[in-house]
């Protein structure tokens, strides 16, 4: 490899090394920030920000799922339950179970409220076929959670399913 090519590739290597540690370096000084600007553009372009915080600093302590309750003009109601990985077979878990687990965890958080209207409309579409003759009025999004108790107070045997869940209605979408 020619000297010029080596220098060019070395620059690319350094750029990649910087990209790997970007998230972990709290660089607030303007000079360092400007140094990182090209790296940030690259990371944004491909969404490559790396945190690698799997089960860290602590694993989650709650089993969570979402439902959407639709109220119709005739006074009836119907509920859409977002797929829950633990209730799916292996193939569906691989195909979409994990995705719904991740996005349910994202949607339930207040900080992601910009996703709530879309989520309500999606649930409405999912229930449309079974309620095609009804006029929907509103959609309520509900989060359900069951906390895993402290191991010292109660030991939960492996593969035991939670029996009781707490619920909280966190968003109402007015259809009309």
């Amino acid at each position: 490899m020619s000297r010029a090519k080596k220098i060019l590739v070395s620059g690319f290597i350094l750029f990649n090394l910087l990209a790997m540690v970007r998230v972990h370096l709290p660089l607030e000084q303007p000079l360092l920030k400007s140094l990182y600007r090209p790296v940030d553009s690259y990371l944004n372009f491909f969404s490559l920000y790396q945190t690698w915080t799997m089960f860290a600093p602590n694993p989650s302590r709650a089993n969570v799922f979402l439902t959407a309750e639709v109220e119709f003009m005739d006074g009836t109601k119907d509920t859409y339950k977002f797929p829950k990985a633990s209730e799916l077979n292996m193939e569906d878990k691989f195909s979409f179970g994990e995705r719904y687990r991740v996005i349910s965890d994202v949607i339930r958080k207040d900080i992601n409220s910009f996703l709530w209207a879309d989520t309500a409309k999606f649930a409405l579409r999912k229930l449309r076929d079974s309620n095609y003759h009804k006029i929907p009025l509103r959609v309520h999004l509900v989060r359900h959670w069951s906390e895993i108790p402290d191991v010292n107070s109660k030991f939960i045997p492996h593969l035991t399913k939670s029996k009781s869940y707490d619920s909280y209605e966190f968003f109402t979408y007015e259809v009309l």
Partner: protein, 330 residues
């Protein structure tokens, strides 16, 4: 000045050493094979996750990511026709990259389609998809189509397909550093958590219903075993990030790492992530070791052709071409 020169030499030796291309080619086959598995698992999700009536609308995505984004959905009015077109092109490019035909352009299209589909609904994704984008991007810069590929086979007949069979290993080095960084960062973050230090993290992680897979009677209900697993995870992950660089421990750490990831896959339902990490560990075998492995595979293939019921003339022709192609590798 002397120290600087020494450092430049070390950098040169580490990143620009010439090695056979079979190693990275073998990794391409495994990696793209896994991407294809993911593709087929994902193909039924077009309506719910990517199409015009997906869970998250394209308008929301555009609002949240107004900056320049590798997402071709930003440039067009989304329709089912266009979504299916992207998915079809993605599948075809994956197939081409797997067999190694027009490998680099195929991988570039794979990256563009993959990133577009990922960024169509980024809130669905986890570390698995981040790894997919990061590694595929790096693979484009490597000569992973120079061996074990249709491209290299065509090189016997057409000069434009002829490529060098040795290369400087810098892409593999970046992938190795990337893998190391993943393990070391995760250990660093875990050490900040009380449950990892007191040994209960694996207990809580295996009680998350959506992440459970299979069990082992008694063991998964033994707090002592779960504590050993928690601390063992920290030790193994640290070894995979640090001790893997030492020749003396490399093979033991690699074997331990593969068993560790297979173990997680058995107990926990984390699709693809463990498989991706096992595939990435391939890059820690030396190119010479991987070449020996690839040679064995090619020889078995040649033997299979010789023992087949094909006509003698055709057999001889195929075997000769394969041998010629293979000898240029040596």
């Amino acid at each position: 000045m002397k120290t600087l020169k020494m450092m430049i030499n070390k950098w040169d030796n580490f990143f620009f050493e010439e090695k056979p291309t079979e190693g990275i080619a073998l990794f391409r086959i495994v990696w793209v094979g896994l991407l294809l598995m993911y593709y087929f698992a994902d193909i039924g999700n077009i309506q719910d996750f990517y199409g015009p009536h997906a869970l998250i609308s394209l308008d929301t995505v555009r609002e949240q990511f107004p900056m320049l984004h590798a997402n071709i959905f930003h440039m067009f009015n989304i329709s089912y026709e266009f979504t299916y077109f992207v998915v079809t092109v993605y599948g075809l490019s994956l197939a081409l990259a797997l067999i190694g035909l027009f490998t680099r352009p195929a991988l570039t299209v794979v990256l563009l389609c993959m990133t577009s589909l990922h960024q169509r609904n980024i809130w669905l994704l986890s570390s698995s998809e981040l790894l997919m984008r990061t590694i595929t991007l790096l693979l484009i810069f490597s000569p992973c189509g120079h061996s074990l590929s249709i491209d290299s086979f065509l090189g016997n007949f057409f000069p434009r397909f002829k490529n060098k069979r040795t290369w400087s290993v810098w892409v593999v080095r970046i992938i190795q550093i990337q893998v190391s960084v993943i393990y070391l960062w995760t250990v660093f973050h875990k050490l900040k958590g009380a449950t990892w230090l007191e040994g209960t993290a694996v207990y809580y992680a295996t009680r998350l219903e959506d992440l459970t897979n299979f069990t082992v009677p008694y063991l998964m209900n033994s707090l002592i075993f779960l504590k050993i697993m928690t601390w063992g995870t920290l030790i193994i992950e640290f070894a995979l990030g640090f001790f893997i660089w030492f020749k003396k421990w490399r093979k033991s750490v690699l074997i331990l790492g593969i068993i560790f990831h297979l173990g997680i896959q058995y107990f926990m339902s984390i699709p693809f992530f463990e498989l991706y990490l096992i595939a990435l560990l391939i890059n820690f075998f030396t190119p010479e070791e991987l070449k020996a492995f690839a040679d064995k595979g090619v020889n078995t293939f040649i033997q299979g052709i010789q023992e087949s019921t094909l006509g003698t003339e055709i057999k001889e022709k195929i075997v000769r071409t394969l041998r010629e192609n293979h000898e240029t590798v040596k």
